[in-house]
Symmetry: C2
Subunit: 650 residues, 2 copies
Amino acid sequence: MTRRRYYLEDVALDEAIRRFETALERVGGLRLPLAEVVALAEACGRLTAGPVWAALSSPHYHAAAMDGIAVRAADTLGATESQPLQLTLGTQAIWVDTGDPMPPETDAVIMAEHVQTLDETTLEIAASVAPWQHVRPLGEDLVATELVLPEGHLLRPVDLGALAAAGHATVAVRRRPRVAIIATGTELVTVEEAAKRTLEPGEIIEFNALMLAGMVNEWGGEATRLPPVPDRKDLLRATVAEALDTHDLVVVNAGSSAGSEDYTATVFGELGEVAVHGVAIRPGHPAILAVANGKPALGLPGYPVSAALTAELFLRPLVYRLQGMVAPKRPVIEATMSRKLLSPLGEDEFVRVALGRVDDRLIATPLSRGAGLVMSLVRADGIAHIPRFAEGVHAGASVNVTLLRDAAEIEGTLVAIGSHDLALDLLASHMRRLAPGTRLSSANVGSLGGLLALKRRDAHLAGTHLLDEATGIYNSPFIERLLPDEEIVLVHLAYREQGFLVPRGNPQGFAELRDLARPGVRFANRQKGSGTRVLLDYHLNRAGLSSDQIIGYEREEFTHMAVAAAVMSASASVGLGILAAARALGLDFVPLFSERYDLAIPRRHWQSPLLEPLRRTLADPAYQAAVAALGGYDVRHMGVVGPKHAPPPA
Amino acid sequence: MTRRRYYLEDVALDEAIRRFETALERVGGLRLPLAEVVALAEACGRLTAGPVWAALSSPHYHAAAMDGIAVRAADTLGATESQPLQLTLGTQAIWVDTGDPMPPETDAVIMAEHVQTLDETTLEIAASVAPWQHVRPLGEDLVATELVLPEGHLLRPVDLGALAAAGHATVAVRRRPRVAIIATGTELVTVEEAAKRTLEPGEIIEFNALMLAGMVNEWGGEATRLPPVPDRKDLLRATVAEALDTHDLVVVNAGSSAGSEDYTATVFGELGEVAVHGVAIRPGHPAILAVANGKPALGLPGYPVSAALTAELFLRPLVYRLQGMVAPKRPVIEATMSRKLLSPLGEDEFVRVALGRVDDRLIATPLSRGAGLVMSLVRADGIAHIPRFAEGVHAGASVNVTLLRDAAEIEGTLVAIGSHDLALDLLASHMRRLAPGTRLSSANVGSLGGLLALKRRDAHLAGTHLLDEATGIYNSPFIERLLPDEEIVLVHLAYREQGFLVPRGNPQGFAELRDLARPGVRFANRQKGSGTRVLLDYHLNRAGLSSDQIIGYEREEFTHMAVAAAVMSASASVGLGILAAARALGLDFVPLFSERYDLAIPRRHWQSPLLEPLRRTLADPAYQAAVAALGGYDVRHMGVVGPKHAPPPA
């Protein structure tokens, strides 16, 4: 098998944009789509294709502006409270409703409540009126031929009102730029297909095109998702060539690298000019900027975080420019970095961060940087940019963060850093139901990391399940040691079951801890320092078992899921973990121990209005029932405050 | 004809909301719509109906994270640059592409560029690797059963990616609240109908429902515009009753006052409970807050500005609450009021303002306050709230303004205050084409008002056409007098024709100024101090004509359009005005004089980057041609700087 080698360039970001612009200029620049005419009711969010002039004046006649009588102002002269004036109905005064045309020769309206009816034909007024009082003269609002809206105006509901008032039933708007999204990869399976059957290893659900199409539509474009193209150059070339004929912009995802089955750059090169192949950014290095058939053609990398970033950097400006607009600048704020972040010299790095205000500081916590982590896109509140001449950022340093979320939403965010648990996810969900403006941002760094985050004042709360082996007491010994100067409220969330993860049907019949010492058992353990390892050692000790007796005790896996995966793939016969991990991979679960999962919260936060929704949610029977329904949880003491309320049930 | 009298309440805004809430509570509060399941591609912008858990892990197998060879990390121990290690292809090393499943027993990937091919079966590596290097373990991104999104989450494109990766092809979202918009009024004509025929006086184009429906959709609701209902109680009642059965919220516009044909409150009262009828706000007093069939029912006033304001105050929160959300707070900024504003005690007044930054101050200029002025909705950048216990705001006072537009857009706004002209509207339109981020906000206060605005530093530029009768020179004498300490650049825009506005066909054959003195002529003049009046007097004087000779010289109209309307209605046989006024009403135009229309611009603004697009536009042949094409304009000196370049052509 012959392998092609990587020959990606390392073009600096600004230089890449320059080269791409030059290539575009060579073909005469971007070609803006023509206008189209749409009905007003369909026009919201569209851009006017040219200035719009009033076809009709508004009002198009002199109109009564009040319910009352239309009069000639001259006829009312001299009327006062002491010397009221009588007017004859029909000749000197005519009843009108708001909006009625002014009868001929009349030039003012007297409000109904200022008119006294004396008899069928005689009215009395107690004040004179000026000409044009309570009259909307023809064209008061809009004069025919007047400008209603300039070109390039983004149509809002009020603009539709003005256009209609000006006599228009339709409006010429710029056609949305048509953007073809071509997913490529033999391994791709559509979401619809994936929902119908079990995926084979190596098959990947196609979700980037869905995400990219959503972005294009959000930016004002009209995205077409074409069916995924297998890794064959001829097929990709035919699809791209056809898409270039019928769209204003073509995006291929992925095949943008330089591997043996990466054809995107080759195809672009055959159909036009590749301006850049490889940008010195992280993530997103294997991006392609090309021009073909006089149109921009982008190759975006396959990892979702890379695809999202390169779409933001290269696709977003194009979609706006194809509408004759400048992409609106996203707001940038200053935040304090909660952790040290290393970044390679020579690459512009874009790190997604979670944001939250703790005390008076806005804290930015970097999310896991794997380019494949679509959940980091979901969890991100902003993007920190680390320029290519910087080697990283110190913890506590100030960074500029481009906001992906409303600033107000970030101010309403509760920051949880520590051990993560499903019950915390449910808490986030239920809290939103009780208090829709509130949000829980939750970073998983383990129990100890959470307490240290509280010490650094980086979080409002920390989920923790630290068992003190010497005393058998959870959490409080650690808090006393680590946070001696801070008053911490320890709020109980739930007892959580840990147990054996075993193949479905539990063929080896695992039932109690000492079964680990049985012959033929291959155990998969967790890493030293993890809560589950501490729990195991504590209970082995209590049961008088030695680690020497357990085959596989030395095999360290780093997550509950890794243990479950080892059992599923039969490289281990049993592991220790939580019910959720067993469920996730369809394993059986044998409950063994109950451990205590608490929330450690500094008192100043616990009592703050920001945490009021959290306090309410913990007391909400619906939330308690939902956690209990997860399975593997005991919620009997949820919300109880203080370290000593109860040991975990035996 | 019997007239009903007004019996509207004057309920303070906060008390109105309280009463309405109490009425809602009596029927058990708002009933939230149920969930519905939609395909991912349709889900952007919707809210999750419940927490969404991963159905599948991502990746759902251990996956190669790089193109290269899959190996057992243990097999690579000891390899170094100086002592490379050889691996046998097929047994110790297997080529994999990114995304491929890891072959059984392998646990690491070595990147292709770090592998040397020796022969068909032998590879060489120069470094050892750690287990799991360049491997994405099963569930690295998402573990099946893990929370993907909480309840009430607004779905963005990245969320669709995560949902797809988690094995979902559809998602349960909250159904959009269905809002019925019922326009009522016998005088209403739909936009479609209005586009087909000439409107009669008294007929009004129905545009409020179009605007309200657009707003409801923008806020996340699903608006249905029902066909307009004539002013008949039985018809309105039947329509409202049916709408209440099939919608979550019903809006009637208008008939909300207490006039003889205002049935909205009566119908709401018969079908449920009217909590408030008449709120002490301006505009929008005759609003109705009711509950019928267990659902909210609003009666909004008929004037568009009143309808828009009451929709913002009462409808917007309801549409969001029906989605289980809190309506996002609009940003509020502090601005300097450019004019004094009087406001009645006892009413909360909401005044639409135009905003722009001039020097270091954000200037708020109140727009005309007529409730019927739909263009004030279009032009507004924000809303200033004058509380009911205040009598107004002084010029120069600081006010809080709720923003209706992006803050960045306001920073890019050129503020023009002064005499208004169509060519200025075209300038706004063309400037946007050249520089999409720029906006021209233009307030019409007359030439003199514009120069005074420059003096107060409230504007960047002022359109002016002030003729000095003594010297026959335009603008500069006034600028020297009014702005002696400021260096003003006088930029010529165009010469503008003034002439006779006469009935179509010019039956009386008006040709020159002295024709005004002919017997049988009824002239309509402009008010003293207007530019057109000054121009007339100047030319009468030059022609040796006396005002005594002209019948109607004393008849003062206040706008070009009012003069044109007088001619159209045959109450005058001739008037003096601009071509556009004649065109607007289908009159003929006899050009007489050319007047000079300039832009007065302080030098510090003229040279600023903010005005660069304006400088470019004035030099743009496309703009010049567009102004010339308007008719009645001479653009030969457009953009020439300085007061003395040329007199208006004779």
